[in-house]
Structures are given as C-alpha cells and as structure tokens.
C-alpha cells in the first residue's frame, strides 16, 4: 500500500493558503484508546461522575489528543510525520465529549509563514468544536 506522495513545493506556496481541512470524530472510544496509548488515565477523560464531581460540563477529551489529532492535517499535507520539526499549541477551551454522539473537531490548516532559507513552512492550525476555537497559537513548522 505504498503511495508516492510528492512534497509541496515551497515556491508555489502563499501565506494564507489553505493546505487542508479534516473533521475528526472524537468518541468516548477515542478517549479510552488515547488513554491507553499515552498512559494518561485521568478519570475526567472517561468517567461522567468524576467529571461532574469536579464541576466540569462533562467528560473532556485529553488536550494532548486534540493536539495530536490536529497536527495530522499538516502531516497529511506533507505526507511524512517526521517533517514536523516544531509544534506548539495553547489549550484554550475544553472539548466536551458526549457519551453517544462524541464531539466533532474541525481542523483547518493554513500557510502561516514561509522561510525559504530554512526551507520550512509554518502551518497555522485552527481547531474548532461547537463554533469555538479550542486551541490557541497552534503552529506546526514543517520541513520541506
């Protein structure tokens, strides 16, 4: 199942250009899977009673799951996860995951800056849940 993925060409890019957009469905299953894979077993990510007891509006997605899924938009664009050299986010709003419907996270990536000398592109990611941004300053520097 090898697919040849040609790298985006730096000179063909423009700041502001949309590089991709993906909808991620985060279900309770996704949270359990992420808990196991990452080792973060904080109960607010899978137990309604614990979330309610600490005053949360519901079970929340791990911030690191939102961060990890969001960058996939940049990964898919460049075709190689190893080319993300610097990635940062700020956690600004929680993603509440409904027990049956889950939560839909819409991530859009845009070219934020181009560094021709370093041969890198900064991809600015916007992650939206229920019409609100959940990540601030979400930036992935991609080596082309």
């Amino acid at each position: 199942m090898m697919t040849t993925h040609s790298l985006p060409k730096l000179i063909e890019l423009e700041v502001g250009q949309v590089i991709g957009s993906t909808e991620f469905l985060l279900t309770r299953d996704s949270l359990v899977r992420y808990a196991g894979a990452s080792g973060d077993f904080n109960q607010i990510h899978y137990r309604d009673d614990v979330a309610a007891a600490v005053g949360l509006p519901g079970v929340l997605a791990h911030g690191m799951l939102t961060m990890g899924a969001a960058v996939q938009v940049a990964v898919d664009w460049v075709g190689d996860a190893g080319r993300i050299v610097d990635y940062q986010v700020r956690f600004t709003k929680p993603v509440v995951v409904h027990p049956t419907d889950g939560a839909v996270l819409t991530v859009t990536g845009k070219v934020g800056a181009i560094d021709a000398e370093a041969h890198t592109v900064r991809v600015d990611l916007e992650a939206v849940f229920e019409d609100a941004k959940v990540l601030g300053k979400a930036q992935a520097v991609v080596r082309l």
């Binding site: 199942m1 090898m2 899977r33 196991g36 990452s38 904080n42 109960q43 940062q88 956690f91």
Partner: protein, 173 residues
C-alpha cells in the same frame, strides 16, 4: 462543597487536565525555579507502541505504520507521531509531581500549553532518556504557572527533542 464547586466552575474555561478529589491548599514552591531533575530510566520505543499511539491520534500517515514506507522515506524504522514525545515527557513530569520540594498539588493542575521541538523524529528502536528542568515559575493572580523543559536524548547522548510544557496550578481565589 458550595465554595469548592464555584471555584471549579470558574476554571471550566481552562482546559482541566488532571484533577482528583484532594482538597489540600498549596501553591508551587517558587524556589524550584531552575531545578534540574535526574535523568529518567531508559524508554524503549517499540513499533507496536508507535502504531498504537498513531492510531489513537487518528493518523493515517504510512511512516507511522509501515516499516517499508518509513525506510523508503529515509528513516531507520517506524516514525513516531509529532506528539509522541509526551509519553517520555510524562516520565519526567511524574518525578516533579512526586517531589515534596516542588509541592505541586496535582489536583489543581491544568495543562496550559505544550510544545515539541525536534532535532530529529523519534523512531522505533530509540532508547530514550529525559532530563527535566523547571524553566520558570510565575504567579498570575491566585494561580501559578510552571514551565517545564524536558530534553529527550537517545542512546548516543544526542538531543532528539525538547518538550516544553506549561502547567497552571490553580490557587484559591
């Protein structure tokens, strides 16, 4: 419980990462700023762990799953997703949260921001250790913001990734 609840309601705009039901009232000890923690034991990066983590963050990138694809792209083995270093960072963070000198109340910790700066991607077969430094402790009203810098090294001693994490420790208002 009423006052306790209202404090919690105020912070729902923050991303609540780690909470349990302890009710001790502490803030971070400012003196740990600059403190460096001992290197962690070796973390061996396995192929199946990379696949499991990649699946969990909803990756479909072949270099995360297919050894041939990774090697064709020039890597020694499967490439870990860009946020995989959190698994290694977590080991160092655990030592800080358990440090009585740092005096961080785990039940009040909220994840503020996160960054990974890679010298090279983490690949299967890596034997990693990490070394954490408390980069800064700042006070923001009743809260404290602690920034940790975790350097992750491979078996040759070369730096692979620096993970920077800011935790907000909520104080009483």
């Amino acid at each position: 419980m009423g006052a306790h609840e209202s404090v919690h309601k105020k912070v729902t705009s923050l991303f609540v990462e780690t909470i349990n039901m302890r009710k001790t009232r502490r803030v971070v000890n400012i003196n740990v700023q600059g403190k460096k923690y001992a290197r962690t034991a070796v973390y061996s990066v396995g192929r199946e762990k990379i696949r499991e983590f990649a699946h969990a963050v909803k990756s479909s990138n072949p270099v995360n799953f297919d050894v041939f694809a990774a090697q064709t792209a020039g890597y020694a083995d499967l490439v870990a997703p860009p946020t995989f270093a959190v698994v290694v960072q977590e080991r160092s963070l655990a030592t800080v949260l358990a440090d009585p000198e740092a005096d961080i109340d785990f039940s009040r910790v909220v994840h503020g921001d996160q960054r990974f700066v890679h010298v090279r991607p983490i690949v299967a077969g890596d034997e990693l250790t990490s070394e954490l430094t408390v980069a800064s402790v700042k006070t923001l009203g009743a809260h404290s913001m602690v920034t940790f810098e975790t350097q992750i090294f491979d078996e040759t001693g070369a730096l692979v990734c620096t993970a920077i994490s800011t935790l907000v420790v909520r104080g009483d208002e």
